[in-house]
Symmetry: C2
Subunit: 199 residues, 2 copies
């Protein structure tokens, strides 16, 4: 398979590339420094990426920005970051990428634990993750040509615990490689409309 991996240079993206790279061709996309440059918050940037990469068998996303801040301080503009980037950025990958994914191919989006287990300062992330999982369930009904779509919803990664652990006190971190397995399940399996919980 030829797999387009967005967010390839991050902690999760690298793990996904490591898991799938031995068996498949990975085209790495990210904001900078990868095979292809893309900013998923910009529709034109997504269009340019697909024009450059051409036909693929799978699109996998390990990228998406949201702002963490106390609810009392979260502004409309800060909510808009999550809605434009992690949510509509990934939705745009599906809307614009459909035509580039071969029959029976797949989309795998990234959501996260906060939709089900909220934390302080995480209202925007909770909202966006809940939106992604629900979008995936719905889009699975309508994608043409046997195209599939799933999301991966991981808890805190061991590899990120130093940076984000203080927000997630008491959460049991998992190796990022476990989330990479969920990407493999989505891309190499046959299910659609699923959210793979990794925790």
């Amino acid at each position: 398979m030829k797999i387009l991996l967005i967010g390839a240079s991050g902690t999760l993206g690298k793990a996904v590339a490591a898991e799938l790279g031995a068996r498949h061709e990975i085209v790495r996309a990210s904001r900078k420094g990868a095979d292809v440059q893309v900013d998923i918050a910009k529709v034109d940037s997504i269009r340019a990426m697909f024009a450059q990469v051409g036909r693929v068998d799978a699109v996998a996303c390990a990228a998406g920005k949201v702002v963490f801040a106390p609810l009392s301080e979260l502004s409309q503009d800060q909510f808009a970051v999550g809605l434009n980037d992690k949510l509509m950025g990934q939705v745009s990958l599906v809307l614009l990428g459909q035509a580039q994914v071969r029959d029976g191919g797949s989309f795998t989006l990234i959501s996260g634990v906060l939709s089900r287990d909220p934390i302080r300062a995480g209202a925007s992330a909770s909202m966006v993750n809940g939106a992604i999982d629900a979008f995936v369930r719905s889009a699975a009904l309508e994608l043409p040509r046997g195209l599939r779509i799933n999301s991966v919803s991981p808890t805190l990664f061991e590899e990120s615990a130093a940076a984000y652990g203080p927000f997630f006190r008491g959460f049991k971190p998992v190796p990022v490689a476990h989330a990479a397995l969920a990407f493999s399940r989505s891309i190499e399996g046959a299910q659609t409309g699923q959210t793979y919980i990794v925790e």
Copy 2:
């Protein structure tokens, strides 16, 4: 209690007013023709509403627009309608309304069945409803002064079946009065962070 009810002139809003009006003072808000005019997609309109209404014990929302269209036809602008109106409109009610709700008061938002049971042409609605329920779970952790927040997630109403039934084949409709009971449970009960499923 003094309850500010947004979307008061719709099918659901009227049922909520009928359920709660006998025991409480209802301030009706809607796009036009109610006690107070408001367009929840506009932050300035929400601000003006709260300035006019003053302190309340509860804010209940039975309003919110989303576009229904096949996934292959749904444009970014059509997704934006749901994100700006039903999603961020209701989130803005919470962000801007907090200061106007008395200690121990509540917010009750409206989501819907499509986050868990998707239909064709409902991808935007699924996304928005999933986002609202997840936001409610998270915001409940951070609201000050004992303020509570819940969502009501109903299936198709018997009263709307003539209009929307063709989208919801095989869904068992419920009387809108059942959804009004869920608003009562949220406003007059003690729980927070809940989604009341009505089906």
